[in-house]
Amino acid sequence: MEKTWNNKAWFMVLPVLVLVAFSAVIPLMTVVNYSVQDTFGNNEFFWAGTDWFIQVLQSDRFWDALTRNLIFSAIILTIEIPLGILIALNMPKTGFGVPVCLVLMSLPLLIPWNVVGTIWQVFGRVDIGLLGYTLAALGINYNYVNNVFDAWVTLIVMDIWHWTSLVVLLCYAGLVSIPDAYYQAAKIDGASRWAVFRYIQLPKMKRVLLIAFLLRFMDSFMIYTEPFVVTGGGPGNATTFLSIDLVKTAIGQFDLGPAAALSLIYFLIILLLSWIFYTVMTNSDAQS
């Protein structure tokens, strides 16, 4: 169906466009500016060309961080998407349970990133945190400050706790839009629970799943606050993701040129991967 045609509507989005220009386009251009020049302060700039880009791409630091990012996103997606679907499938579709479940699901989404970090930081502490203390009492040697594995597990559990709800809510919206007749027909056709999922629910959830997948990929790939608050990138560099590395470079070392180049590379990686996912997933939809 076509949209209503009305030129005046453009005026309504003009403020947003201006805002986006100031908040995104201009800073982005500044970054581009930094990435091709060198400066030692005093507003003196020297042309650096692609030097910073080459420097970043040749550094082990960059590739290590990128690998961590990819592994982290892969783990997050393989857990959150199926888990989200599973929870959505088991949510009630009628009755008073619906609003209860929806509110419960929305709660983690309402908590700011840094607060989530702080909550888990405290929660996991061996001395005063409930989780850390309990684990220690059970004889499990858990310490996210020193142990690489524990640090990763903490970050992954945090992210799952924080963001699976989003996948659940999106999937749930897709599920409730399926007319009852489909379920009745499936019953009559003697379809198993798995067949109902595979041939009715999954196809109908496809569009929302695509959105959930992209959102979760982009968000997890850009993770910053949680490791910043909880692990600070450590132990060692074990949880130093691209975003953390970027901040370290830019603000910690004040290497604006390489930081700007890294930002742009980071930005392009996200854009490229999102585009690849989108194309692959929508193409498989169009095939018939």
Binding site: E2, T4, W5, N6
Partner: protein, 364 residues
Amino acid sequence: MLELKNITKVVGADTHIHPTDLVLERGSLNVLLGPTLSGKTSLMRLMAGLDKPTTGTITFDGKDVTGVRVQDRSVAMVYQQFINYPAMTVYENIASPMRISGKDAATIDREVRKAAELMKLTPYLERTPLNLSGGQQQRTALARAIVKNASLVLLDEPLANLDYKLREELREELPKLFAASGSIFVYATTEPQEALLLGGNTATLSQGRISQFGPTISVYRKPADIVTAKTFADPPLNTIDLVKSGDAFERDGITVLPVPAHLSGIADGAYTIAFHPHHLSLARPHQTAATLKARIIISEIAGSESFIHVDCAGSRWVMLEHGIHDIEPDTAIELFVDTRHLMAFGADGRAIGGSADSHTVRGA
């Protein structure tokens, strides 16, 4: 007067509306008749100003309104789905267009009660739409369209979601409403019977083209081409491809039908011959009726009449016969064609020789 001049609508690679000219007079009822996706809704959206035509102009009373938004035009629309404000009472629903246009309370009250009376909604004014039956919900939507007093009222299959009998009742009331106001009414439907019951003018649509526009009964009786004849036939039109040779319509050199008087003037050659199911019968209806041999496919009984599907020399036809005739499938029968009502169409699909019969054309 609403005038569409050379209107087209192209969306991407699809042409929704091919070049169309149409003139609708004030106070007229115009039916857009065609199957799903034939362009009825697209055309209505263009008329309303919800979509902008790709080419062409739309004028209203001589004034160009092509670029004018729907909000700035005097248009009311009723859809197949029952669209009302769910939180408002029926009274407030009907009053809403007048509240927007800022009428005074006394006028609003008078108009609402008048429309409610017409639409038999008076006992339900204080209820909310969700506590009403489908028929009452659609009556509310119709009442709202009436009080708006718009110069153009568009009804997009308004009765499609209602029970058969409710449709019958509303269909009888609607033309009365139309006659009372001076608005232009446009009514889209997929059902030929509905167009005939409503009367007025009919434009037959097929694949984004208006094939004919004129008084409903004359479009039905004298279709200009085979597309119109097929669109405007329920039960479906019976057709057979034959060659005229002198005073006979032949196939492979064998006479199938005699040439009736009203077609005697047409040139020899290949034609598509068509006629309505009620001009086919089991008993000889008339001296000049032609006899054919056929095989029964299936008989359907509809109370007072029977729809008998037959295979006649490879053509699949429907016969509409009075009374109950439950003939077993595959029975060989003899049937009669009332040749006075035959229509002939040339290779280009145009009607040839004025498919005239004894009927006088009654206009709207």
